[in-house]
């Protein structure tokens, strides 16, 4: 079956067009289940209800005739029940209503039957009660939704509270399955609303576009630098200690080779395709640009939404998304995102803008994806030697640690979709082989309790810098 002539399918991929057509046919077939006869208009409702005094008045008339939509309802039943109980109680004060009469009474006993209580409830009251019940249902639903949002928001605030005074941050968290924003919080004005340079997190979009074009993670690409490609004004150089070899795409990603990605972006894929992919993932039109011109800017919410979309697409069998996530799972295991390694299945991408003004970590675990943006509070670059900065803040350092602090808390919340906490994994730092991805002098995190690094000589005098990492239950270490 083909549906090529239907404009609804013009933008549907060829391999999905038949499915879309069959779905359309089914929908039209099922729609015929609705007979088309309009139901009677319900009673219109006014403004939201205000507290009212309900008066009980003597009324001998039966239920008013001709009153539409008048049906027995909760209030009427309750009033009738209370009325009946009251009458029975009067007839049998203090006694069990199931007892007919004392056995000694000589006269024949007649079981008293309470008089029928006819109750008329004004339709408007019924409507108000219905509306209140609907509101109650909605309230329960909102409470559940907002409870999760509130808990994640608190966790995000708590994670940001760990930042030193010289830094400010913003976090957006998105539900992978629904795409809905769960939490958005910042410690500085417009932190979550203003788009900022994405640094190497642009590789996420470049790789997605490349894999959609058929490039594989194990294809070869040159990362040799310095390189002069496209409209670059001067030769690009790879990052410090990022080797410039010809290597697999996946390895070039893990070592964040600028020249490899320049070739991928400009020669193999093309900026327009990458911009289109980015537009699709973030949900707004993004103009084509090259990452070395620093023009690509996104908000934390957009970054989180993009990765969440990829996670969801991968869960639904999208091959390109699966490949991208495989690369960025490796990035957590052995690449720049290794500080976010808090258990299996974590996906993470790091980015630092060239001027060290913005550092990103975008990571996903369970049903939640968070984008963490760290910014210098004093407007100075966040690298060593600058005022107030004795450490180098890159996407793989503090942003990843903040992300980890957040998702540790999310795991502890026990909310639906949160990965359970994995206390087997501890970490200390990176080993020599992997430290090629980090800048010299970069701060490292705390050593997990019970974790004994295999190279204790790597510890500094304070015991907070090591040259190894430690997985408490990892048999391979």
């Amino acid at each position: 079956m083909t549906f090529d002539s239907d404009p609804r399918f013009d933008d549907i991929d060829n391999d999905l067009r038949d499915l879309a057509g069959e779905m359309t046919a089914m929908l039209e077939r099922r729609a015929a289940d609705v007979d088309g006869a309009p139901r009677r208009l319900p009673a219109p409702l006014g403004d939201p209800p205000t507290p009212q005094v309900i008066s009980l008045q003597d009324h001998d008339e039966p239920q008013a005739a001709g009153r539409p939509n008048s049906r027995p309802f909760l209030a009427a039943a309750a009033v009738a029940l209370i009325g009946a109980m009251g009458i029975v109680a009067l007839l049998f004060p203090g006694g069990d209503t199931s007892v007919i009469a004392p056995a000694s009474t000589p006269e024949p006993q007649v079981t008293p039957v309470p008089p029928t209580v006819e109750v008329d409830v004004a339709p408007a009251v019924e409507d108000q009660i219905e509306r209140l019940q609907a509101d109650e249902d909605r309230l329960e639903e909102l409470v559940e939704e907002h409870l999760i949002d509130s808990l994640v928001n608190q966790a995000a605030q708590s994670a940001l509270d760990t930042l030193p005074p010289s830094l400010v941050g913003a976090i957006a968290t998105v539900n992978n399955r629904t795409g809905e924003l769960v939490s958005s919080i910042a410690t500085f004005p417009e932190g979550v609303d203003v788009a900022r340079p994405v640094g190497s997190t642009q590789h996420l979009y470049t790789l997605t576009a490349a894999f959609e074009d058929g490039i594989q993670a194990h294809d070869w690409v040159s990362g040799v630098g310095p390189c002069t490609i496209g409209d670059a004004q001067e030769p690009l150089e790879n990052f410090v200690r990022s080797t410039g070899a010809v290597d697999l795409v996946i390895n070039q990603t893990l070592r964040a080779s600028r020249c490899a990605f320049a070739r991928l972006e400009h020669v193999l894929v093309g900026a327009p395709k990458i911009a289109a992919t980015m537009s699709e993932l973030v949900g707004r039109d993004v103009a084509p640009s090259t990452f070395w011109t620093h023009e690509t800017r996104l908000t934390p919410q957009e970054q989180a939404r993009a990765l969440a979309t990829l996670v969801d697409a991968a869960a639904n069998g999208d091959a390109a998304a699966e490949s991208v996530l495989a690369v960025y799972q490796n990035n957590v295991q052995m690449g720049t995102a290794n500080r976010a390694r808090i258990g299996p299945g974590v996906v993470g991408v790091t980015g630092t803008d060239e001027d060290f003004m913005f550092a990103w970590f975008v990571g996903s675990r369970g049903d939640f994806t968070s984008a963490v943006l760290i910014v210098s509070a004093n407007g100075e670059p966040m690298n060593p030697g600058q005022d107030g900065f004795d450490i180098s803040v890159t996407g793989g350092s503090l942003p990843a640690e903040v992300w980890r602090a957040l998702h540790d808390q999310i795991a502890d919340l026990g909310i639906a979709g949160a990965e359970p906490a994995d206390d087997r994994v501890g970490w200390a730092a990176v080993n020599d082989r992997e430290s090629i991805l980090l800048d010299p002098g970069e701060a490292v995190g705390m050593i997990s309790p019970g974790c004994v690094p295999s190279h204790p000589a790597g510890l500094d005098e304070d015991g907070d810098r090591v040259t190894d990492r430690c997985y408490q239950s990892d048999p391979d270490r």
Partner: protein, 159 residues
Amino acid sequence: MKTVDAKVEPVTWQPALVELYEQRFADLARIAYLMIGRLDVADEVVQEAFVAANRSWDGVRAPLPYVRTAVVNRSRSWHRRVAVERRHLGAPATAAVNHPDEMWDVLQTLPERERAAVVLRFYEDLSYAEIGAVLECPEPTARTIVHRSLLRLRKEIAR
């Protein structure tokens, strides 16, 4: 005998809504039915949407898009409410109508937002911009949701 009575200000229907109700009730009920899978609930959802539109009439600029969005939102809320009930009660609160139709069955497996997007795109024939307006998301996101829904449907069918 006792009668419960209350003083409530009379409220009337907006004529434009009455006209829309007469003309488009069935269309809107079909959208709700395709999203919910139950005829009785679909009727209620549409009626509630009209009641809400009448109540908020001062803020309604375009009645049909407003009511259609209200129908979609209430259909989605119905799914969420049922999901909450299932979590708390451990069993479905209501049984869906049984249809021996594979496409119908897999449609029911979609999350409510994606189901709404599929119905609005392939049944209601809305543009992505219109779908985005209903689902409160940008046009490219609406396009992504539809595409993702098809991928998910294909995966479900392949199971």
